[in-house]
Amino acid sequence: MLRLVVRRLLQLIPTLLGLSVLLFLWLNRLPGGPASAILGERATEADVARINRALGLDQPVWVQYGRFLKRVVQLDLGTSTQTGQPVWDEFVLRFPATVELSVAAMLIAVAAGIPLGYLAARRRGGWLDVTAVSGSLIGICVPVFFLALLLKGVFAVGLGLFPSYGRLSTGLDATGVTGFAVLDGLLTGEFDATWDALVHLVLPAVTLASIPLAVIVRMTRASVLEVVGEDYVRTAESKGLEKRVVRVRHVLRNALLPVVTAVGLLTGSLLSGAVLTESVFSFGGIGSFIRTSIDARDYPVLVGFIMFIAMVYVLINLLVDLAYSLIDPRVRVH
């Protein structure tokens, strides 16, 4: 197991190197630069030239890449051209919000998706099945920005149940410890802060959950159908085991294995995919920051982010494999 971990981590190096070369070549092709993004309609040609020179953007791309590598070796991701702060600090500041949102969305998706998928499979072909499957599919088919608009219109403006944006209420002077608003409240005993953070999470998390929910419903359904047809389930049934025992111990447990994997991987993709949800709800996470970074041609942030996401992918993959071997005794990771 240790060997696997070490091997995977070593494999990370060529992957990231390859990625960074591709990125540099690609970003170099983008028209425009950070200068006009900073000055808006006030930028003159001379300003733009001077700013580009200050940022080293007038240098050939390999020189820029060389500088980048040198910095990375020193564990420095560079400075954001938008905020003038180290890229790493910006990530540390914003990542907790995104993690919190992704995890909350995933919890909602799992809590609703697995029972729905299971029921759909048990009543296969029936109306419940069709409703559950197509209902969850609608989640995928509604453009996220429109779903968010509707949810806010109904639950924030109409009913006034949830706040329409942000992570915490204003004036709530919560103490920051970890940057995770929910966790901070629990750690410092400021439970009203935790509550406030949870209330703020509901609408964005539901919006974001619409995608993994559909995937989980379908996956659970397919997986349950497959397991139900397996010999060992039939054996167990013919042995006269109680139906509920068969369902839980044989069917559900085995059917959930692939779902567990998917949950891990989906969480990974949510981390990089919450861009629009975050912008619409002004959630202050990494996703909306990336969106503005694209507009601002904030190269250091973009490069750093993609490398970072690639790393997260590898790590989540690794974790999933490890978790898998714990759940399924037949699989032993070498």
Binding site: V133, V275, V331
Partner: protein
Amino acid sequence: MTAGTNRTQAGKESDAGDGSKERGESQGSKGSQGAKGSQGSGGAAGTAGTAGAVATGRAAKIDRLAELTRRTGATVGNSLWKEAFRRLRSNRMAVIGAVVIALFVVVAVVGPWVTPYSPTAQTWRGEVLANQGKFVGARGENWFGLDHLGRDMFSRMLVGARQTLLVGVVSMLIGLLLGALIGTLSGAAVTLGGRAGRRIDTVVMRVIDILLSLPSLLLAVSIAAVMGQSLTTVMIAVGVVQIPVFARLLRGSMLAQGGADYVLAAKALGIRRKRIVLTQILPNSLSPVIVQATLSLATAIIEAAALSYLGLGNPDPAVPEWGVMLSQAQRFFDNAPMMAVYPAVGIIITALGFTLLGEAMREALDPKLRG
């Protein structure tokens, strides 16, 4: 991003249902169905190698879909499609999906000829005052009311269907053709090329895996930035994001076929390898690709809408396209909600139709899920 990215990723995730069994297998110890020895997916995950780790998850799911052909193809042969079609007809999801798609295609084809008014002329310009929240809803002469610049919404919806279908189909085809090309090359290289071939395959798949791990919005936006904004850009951006999916799918599918009995038989008969690949393996590997193509249509339509929301759509906003119409109408949602609802419903129903049919097709092709 975007909805687009999210959505696409979801599409990719979903397309191969439960992929993880293969993950287990490829890791070495065989799971329940291990005895069958799915060389295909094993090889796939194996070559994925370094970069593969980045995207193994999604990749494994694509491979899973690929592997389905082997099972079905080997056992049922050509009657598979007949059999699958029979099962499709009795599936409610499939029927609903097919009906929706048929309607959509009919509208898209005949729409522009039956519009009551010009969809681009600001005929009733003076009647709509967007700055004062004065809009015109459904009425006798304009069944769906007017948009924010005094154009007939009903005509715009009809014509928009064609644009939407065009974007969906073309971008899916871009992904399909390029992806299939890469996938076939890679798959053929493994089957034909010996050690060198496997090496080529490894490199190609590693690049594909890197592409899979990139947030697709970033890809799409940067393509748009380089190429300038146009409908072509949207199609290419949405299509390029699909390339790795199809490439992986076809390659995995071909590898799976490569281990099938009939291929072994053909080899034993002394048929040339190139011939085996082209006449036996490739045709038999196509069915999951068709399933994926159906699902991709839905993804492409939604992705295109998201790109429109980001302002990357058709350069001439007068030309109606549902995604553009929806993102434009959002601003007036309080005063004229129906302006957003029509295109939104159009997009949702259409995407749902393609997804339902695609899902049902996959199920019909998978013998394990036969009821």
